[in-house]
């Protein structure tokens, strides 16, 4: 037990520091822009090809409240590995955090954020009313699509491309009445020689480039 000999100021009388931080824990420099608008990011992850991995990864995104736009998973040339392509929309600190949380999962072998010029493709299957087959075929041709099924009442087509192309095609088909639609979500690979996400960089600390990304986002 002690007795205060020198009672300090009450909460309202104390000298308080003048600085502040934003919601991302970054010190606010009044000169600089502290807001981080959401961006779209494509993450490619190599994962162990085993039961439960998809649940583990989708669970991670859900419980940490990362906003997923699409998630696809498929086999690779290695039987033991699968590749996931995850498109998320988050402010920059959230994208970096999502990458780090992904890398931390034991069945995740490596993760990479793909650059804007990466090859990204999505496939959509659209079932439209078939009362005007010529017009439907014309639009399918225009978007380099394929007719998968044609009947007296419906025509089903497939279009492959990037987000913009697929959105445009869907808009074009809308005039006939779209009965059903399914989109696969994105598959993506890095452009050129650069490996997309490789085995030789397992669960490592962020690279200098990643740290640099963080710094860029602070500016």
């Amino acid at each position: 037990m002690t007795t205060g000999e020198l009672p300090g100021p009450t909460p309202d009388e104390r000298d308080l520091p003048a600085g502040r931080r934003n919601a991302q824990g970054i010190r606010i420099d009044p000169e600089a822009e502290a807001e981080h608008p959401p961006e779209r990011a494509v993450l490619s992850a190599l994962v162990e090809h085993q039961p439960g991995v998809l649940a583990e990864i989708s669970g991670l995104f859900s419980r940490r409240q990362f906003n997923i736009e699409s998630l696809t998973v498929g086999a690779t040339i290695e039987d033991s590995m699968a590749r996931m392509t995850i498109v998320i929309e988050e402010p920059r600190p959230g994208i970096d955090q999502a990458k780090k949380q992904l890398e931390k999962l034991i069945p995740v072998i490596s993760v990479r954020e793909l650059a804007g010029d990466a090859i990204q493709r999505e496939l959509v299957i659209v079932k439209v009313d078939g009362h005007d087959p010529d017009k439907v075929n014309a639009i399918t041709d225009m978007y380099d699509g394929t007719t998968l099924d044609a009947g007296p009442r419906t025509i089903t087509v497939q279009i492959t491309g990037d987000e913009q192309k697929i959105d445009d095609a869907i808009d074009a088909y809308a005039q006939f009445g779209i009965r059903e639609i399914v989109r696969t979500g994105y598959a993506a690979l890095a452009r050129g020689e650069a490996p997309t996400a490789q085995v030789t960089q397992p669960n490592q600390a962020p690279t200098e480039a990643q740290v640099a990304t963080q710094e860029v986002s602070d500016d």
Partner: protein, 590 residues
């Protein structure tokens, strides 16, 4: 990360072969599980038996190398294993059957996950042919525990199950520690195999970082040396990473004051001149002023939990942050790190030491911190003939016991008094539930702590509410003849909730007061322990002496002043620098 945990070496490979020779007698999956535990050096399991886990228990029948402690409830098994892991530095092991056995472990797993405590849980499961059919005592244990374990796995092959257990042990131990779980279907543990597991190892793809980037280390060292008001924030990672000697040497060499987070109590001796105690919601006034006014904060092994930071906006708002952590995902998660140093705490502190161009000129800052210590001492009033003060009980036990005495707690007001009014000078002497805030953690963790360190005294400070949740584990302490002392700081209420109701809910005390509670001293006697009732200041000394002298578990029911609340206090989301020292100041903050 423990020194013993390391990437496989030639020695490990040699040991691998040795153990394979010794364990050639494996005949079943269950025996492989036990052999996997033996290969990891496991000597103790806390558990509760049941149907689906019976083959593993049966295999233990033959093995004298592993002792099994039957707990009253699986939650108790998990907390005991958790505390065993904290005190020993290596994973504690708990075991339960499928269904309710596994779900009863859940709180303990979540607790260990939040506090990065090394622990392995083994759960029985219905045979693989029954999985998914809602069989008797079937629960999707993997699904339930996925978000609250560092890693979990479903064993589907008797040949691999021994190694799988070893991998779970190694993953719990290496890098950022945490709980792992292996789900063991009955047909796999009953299945035939002659494959003896090797020594435990993590998957090749798991490579925790060791040393931080040299360039960032140099920049961080320069920033520390140039700081005017530097502070080190020592987190639980300093204890998990066994970096306390490095921390102490660094702080002393460069004259940097040290604040600890609650899990880090004992990582820096609190009787040291540079020690400022714990910061945060119920931190000391001086720690909270120091962390608010610092211009350079070195956070080591801390995840900047909201109970520490208070409102992010006002947390160390003028400080650049040097953040040392073994887990890259903690860097800039809550507070932006200007200097991210990813690696093992002890190694990174040594790197920083080598890179330091000199000591910061911080004499004036140290003097300011000392002044704050004089202005805002931890204080309480204790008029004679008044009800017993909990702070006095804690201080009296601290004075009566050796420095290496281990303190465990439940969660609530008693936990804060135990954190604030006991002087922690050695690592691994403070065992509590921090991140999850699990009431009932105290008694089972005292059992685990005592079994990990039989030569150290163990005192559990518990609340009456916490004791009601897991007090039945006293029966285990009696059976195992564990010389522990449980001190219930009894205010006949869920005191912390009541404090909040009085502070923030206009005194509407809904469900926080017990109209009637058991006489805990008699309850203890019924379990076979010694019970004491303590009501008066004048009896404190003799009661402590009698409880300590009794060779076995004793329970002291200390009837404390129900009006006593925990201060200092920063309201949730508040500004640490505006801590309140009493009710009047707290009201003024609203």
């Amino acid at each position: 990360m423990s020194e013993r945990a390391s990437v496989p070496t030639e020695e490990a490979d040699a040991a691998d072969e040795d153990s394979a020779d010794e364990q050639a007698a494996v005949e079943s999956g269950a025996e492989a599980v036990v052999a996997g535990l033996e290969a990891a050096g496991v000597e103790l399991i806390f558990g509760v038996t049941g149907g689906a886990i019976m083959p593993v228990y049966d295999a233990l029948y033959e093995h004298d190398s592993i002792t099994h402690v039957t707990m009253a409830h699986e939650q108790g098994a998990a907390h005991a294993a958790d505390a065993y892991g904290i005190v020993s530095g290596e994973p504690g092991v708990c075991m339960a059957t499928s269904g309710p056995g596994a779900t009863n472990l859940v709180t303990g797993l979540a607790d260990a996950n939040m506090d990065s405590d090394p622990m392995v849980a083994l759960t029985g499961q219905v045979p693989t042919d029954f999985v998914g059919n809602d069989a008797f005592q079937e629960t999707d244990t993997i699904g339930v525990t996925q978000p609250i374990t560092k890693h979990n796995s479903f064993a589907d092959d008797a040949d691999l199950v021994g190694d799988e257990v070893g991998t779970a042990w190694a993953l719990a131990n290496e890098g950022r520690q945490g709980p792992t779980l292996v789900d063991l279907p009955k047909d796999v543990t009953q299945g035939e195999t002659d494959r003896a597991p090797g020594s435990p190892r993590t998957p090749d793809t798991y490579q925790p970082p060791e040393r931080a980037d040299e360039t960032v280390v140099q920049d961080a060292a320069d920033a520390i040396a140039a700081a005017e008001r530097p502070v080190i924030l020592s987190g639980g990672g300093v204890i998990k990473g066994e970096a306390w000697d490095e921390l102490s040497a660094f702080a002393t060499e460069y004259g940097v004051p040290v604040i600890t987070t609650m899990p880090a109590l004992g990582s820096f001796p609190e009787d040291h001149d540079l020690a400022l105690g714990m910061a945060g919601m119920h931190g000391t006034g001086y720690a909270n002023l120091a962390i608010s006014n610092t211009d350079l904060l070195v956070g080591i092994g801390t995840r900047f939990d909201d109970r520490l930071t208070g409102g992010i906006e006002t947390f160390a708002p003028d400080a650049e942050l040097v953040h040392v952590d073994v887990d890259p995902a903690e860097i800039s998660k809550n507070i932006y790190a200007d200097y991210p140093l990813i690696g093992d705490a002890a190694k990174v502190i040594r790197q920083l030491d080598q890179a330091m161009p000199g000591a910061p000129e911080a004499a004036a800052w140290r003097e300011t911190c000392q002044r704050w210590k004089r202005e805002y001492p931890l204080d309480y009033e204790m008029p004679e003939d008044e009800p017993l003060k909990p702070e006095y009980v804690v201080e009296s036990f601290d004075e009566a016991t050796p420095a290496d005495t281990i303190v465990t707690t439940g969660v609530g007001q008693h936990q804060m008094w135990a954190a604030l009014y006991w002087e922690y000078t050695e690592p691994r002497t403070w065992i509590s539930s921090h991140g999850l805030g699990t009431m009932g953690y105290g008694v089972p963790s005292a059992i685990g702590a005592k079994m990990a360190a039989p030569d150290q005294e163990v005192v559990c400070f518990d609340g009456d509410g916490s004791f009601l949740m897991t007090g039945q584990e006293i029966s285990v302490a009696v059976r195992e003849n564990l010389d522990i002392t449980v001190v219930i700081l009894n205010n006949e209420a869920v005191g912390m909730v009541r404090q909040w109701q009085d502070g923030f809910y206009e005194g509407r005390r809904m469900a926080s007061e017990y109209p009637w509670i058991p006489e805990f001293d008699k309850l203890a006697e019924a379990y076979g322990a010694r019970g004491f009732r303590l009501e008066d200041q004048s009896e404190v000394e003799e009661t402590i002496q009698a409880a300590r002298e009794y060779d076995g578990p004793s329970v002291v029911d200390a009837i404390i002043d129900p009006g006593e609340n925990v201060y200092p206090m920063v309201p949730s989301g508040g500004d640490n620098a505006r801590f309140a020292l009493n009710e009047a100041q707290l009201e003024g903050l609203e």
